[in-house]
Symmetry: C2
């Protein structure tokens, strides 16, 4: 299959992410329908012409006609949906997603889908601290990283289609990782950072804190504004990997603590130098 202007996209779940996918694809002239679970989102999406059709139920005809289905649901809802309705999807269709964990999702969904329907998983590395299609914004994808997560079941064509979507939406770097590599990495760069932000924000009860802060504290705690239902689900779905990353961070934090406690300025300076060198790679 090839993605072109005849391709019919169906987005299942029209929140911040799904809505942003819909906007981006529609703007580029593609046909986009969506399935949502509430009237308000449907009305909003139709009124703003983000999608063509937007039923609040599983419209079988719409599912059957779709060439590319993009799932932007919570992980457990995604699996339930596919188990219940996967048989409606037409042979030759491509399915992709935006789920933040992969190990527990990808093979499960691939095993449930009917013969001839390919699920190629993806993780768009972009987000906002707001929710809903009302806040969706296709610009948040511009230049962002996009991770494609294939397994042995995927085809070259499926992987190409998945990358093509990222290109259409204006993502920057597109990389491939296995489900395990993805989850370890996300445990570190995304989940651990959210754990740190939440810990930092909860440990000090001072309503006037904002009067005294510099950018550094604001930057570190921006993501402390967190969707607790989604993120706690993601954390538990990646439990072992995240626990390891938390232990790793804690051991280095401890090392810095000990250097301060023991008057070991040399170790402290060494850590700071290493940190500076590594961080500079980001700004190249």
């Amino acid at each position: 299959m090839t993605i072109d202007k005849q391709t019919r996209f169906l987005i299942v779940g029209l929140g911040l992410m799904g809505g942003s996918y819909a906007r981006g694809l529609t703007q580029k002239g593609y046909h986009v329908d969506a399935i949502v679970n509430d009237e308000k989102s449907s009305e909003f999406a139709l009124r703003h012409e983000i999608v063509h059709e937007c039923p609040t139920f599983v419209d079988e005809e719409l599912v059957k006609k779709a060439d590319v289905l993009i799932f932007a649901l919570y992980p457990h809802t995604f699996i339930e949906w596919v188990e219940k309705n996967g048989s409606l999807i037409k042979k030759g269709a491509i399915i992709t997603d935006v789920t933040g964990v992969k190990g527990c999702i990808v093979e499960k969904v691939q095993s449930v889908l009917p013969e001839g329907v390919e699920f190629i998983s993806a993780h768009p590395m972009a987000g906002r601290e707001v929710y809903g299609v009302e806040n969706s914004d296709e610009k948040m994808f511009y230049g962002a990283n996009y991770i494609v997560v294939p397994t042995e079941r995927n085809t070259e064509n499926g992987i190409e289609c998945c990358k093509r979507i990222a290109e259409i939406l204006g993502f920057g770097r597109i990389v491939e990782l296995s489900p395990k590599e993805h989850d370890d990495l996300i445990g570190f760069v995304s989940q651990l950072t959210h754990c740190i932000a939440v810990s930092l924000m909860t440990c000090y009860e001072n309503e006037n804190l904002e009067k005294y802060t510099a950018d550094s504290f604001r930057d570190l705690t921006r993501i402390a504004n967190i969707n607790e239902v989604l993120w706690s689900e993601l954390f538990f779905l990646n439990r072992d990997s995240l626990l390891r990353q938390m232990e790793l961070f804690e051991s280095h934090f401890r090392k810095l603590y000990e250097s301060l406690k023991n008057g070991d300025r040399e170790t402290m300076i060494q850590m700071m130098k290493e940190s500076t060198e590594r961080r500079k790679l980001f700004d190249k």
Copy 2:
């Protein structure tokens, strides 16, 4: 004393902070001289007309003529300078600074200065991950927080002059804290956040990390690019308070870790909710 267009400012130390003070004051039409310790900074400052005079030695006449002296030096250099040259400062002059720790600085400097010279300490809550007068930029102060740190030795007039400088430079919120309050708070909002960023950046050896990151990781590690000589000095000067803040953070991080390890989703959700509520206060 009143700050007006006849006031002669002398900035001692013309790096990123001193240079930004100089630019801001000069732009507003004030007379600014500086004392630096290298020819390159002096030439740069004179060529860009950031200051009037810029000797690379302690020019006694310039010190004697100054009405307001602003010290933008490393903490120990600041104390050494005042011990050696403080007697040159004229009676009635006001001294202020930009030092990131106060407990070990303020009373020391106040006790060394000659009778009739008032030191009123300040902490401009702004910075950049770059150094030197070449990178100075008065715009980094616009809207930033500014903490005045008076002791019993300070006068109403001294405090007013210190606040006036912040107003001239375009700072946003101006607050007062005691040296102890300041150091506890800075230990938390600034030093602890730098400890976290350094720990996070050093704990994972993956040269390709930047390919996979989202904004959250970039935000958390921006300050991992750190001047190790200055910051290790600041950490040790605020050792006890920073150790307490690190312990506090660690205990909350541990709580989150335990909730994940023990399958206690309720505690995790509770922490995330609290974190979200507190963080929202920042964006009001």
